[in-house]
Symmetry: C2
């Protein structure tokens, strides 16, 4: 009767399971130790298997990163909930967009790391992850786009890039430094303060 299909749990020969374990370990190493300590040896160590399997199942580090990239295809759509109310002004639209982006990014530490590496490291592997992140983000924004037009006389594209840059940098800085430029970003109250300030900026900038 011991010939059941899942007897002992764990060390059974199960390609799919080891495959997933390697993938999970890879994401884990990336999120915790960063790109510095990312390699076949460390991933195999954390996955509890031989590194040879990484070459067999993923074709090496490159293929492994590719798999992680595919895994990130919907990182923001999954995390950012749809806005409760449909925005009726351009200012509101930017506000909800930025709020959704921030909440999604704050939930996904791996994407945070990738965003940070984008500007700190231009190795091929990082570029690969960066591309996957960017594509998913672009698709999400495209889906959020409505028919609202920005006020006249303002460079909306540049302004929004500035706002997104600020939001992103605050999140990255909060994870590693706990704040930025004297502004604490640890507790929920801290974040409420930051989001209030950001919302005020948006409203004043896009005031009709």
């Amino acid at each position: 009767m011991d010939e059941s299909k899942e007897p002992v749990e764990g060390k059974q020969r199960d390609r799919a399971k080891t495959h997933d374990a390697i993938l999970a370990a890879a994401k884990d190493v990336l999120a915790s130790d960063g790109f510095q300590g990312f390699g076949v040896n460390s991933v195999a160590r954390k996955a509890g298997c031989d590194k040879q399997l990484i070459y067999r199942y993923f074709g090496g580090l490159e293929g492994l990163v590719e798999a992680i990239g595919s895994d990130l295809a919907n990182w923001i759509s999954d995390a950012a909930m749809a806005p409760a109310i449909k925005p009726s002004t351009y200012s509101q639209w930017v506000e909800t967009l930025l709020s959704g982006y921030m909440s999604a990014l704050r939930q996904n530490t791996l994407v945070q790391k990738i965003s940070a590496w984008e500007v700190a490291d231009n190795s091929p592997l990082v570029r690969q992850l960066s591309k996957a992140r960017s594509i998913a983000l672009g698709r999400w924004i495209a889906g959020q786009r409505g028919e609202l037009a920005p006020p006249e006389g303002i460079d909306a594209a540049a302004t929004n890039a500035i706002l997104i840059a600020a939001a992103q940098h605050l999140i990255l800085a909060s994870s590693t430094l706990g704040g930025f430029s004297g502004l604490a970003l640890a507790t929920d109250a801290d974040w409420a303060r930051a989001e209030t300030a950001l919302a005020t900026i948006i409203r004043k900038v896009y005031a009709e």
Copy 2:
């Protein structure tokens, strides 16, 4: 007569010169290859000397980084020129402050890298450099501070942190990605556009 003190130039035994060559090579490796390829071997290779000398003259990598940190003590004061006209409103003051910070940061690629590493890598060496950068920045801002007060009813500390975060992130992204979020940041015209948008934000936010 050949016993002059600086005869052939170069391969003479000159501790001070080698010391400086190592320091320069270290900054060079950091700025070009990043923290990834930073180590005694690569620095010694670039400096054209034996790595043993790094241990002798700096006490290892840690001391070398420390020396680089001291070298960065006045990075912003040296680069940011004093404002042409003394700002007469809080809005103007923020504008000149941010403008000076941006121009100084854009000129110093090493500090750019350090700023990027701050949020991407929390190794002890990075923290050391980050600290040196932060101290120099804080001293500069303290020196720029005037008696101007922000308008009532606005969280100036949070707002300024947001603005600085945006400026910094745009600069970092421009160096590695050539732009951010669809906004090109390569040519001078690109930067003029970004700075205009930023100035507009500041004026609208801090309008009296």
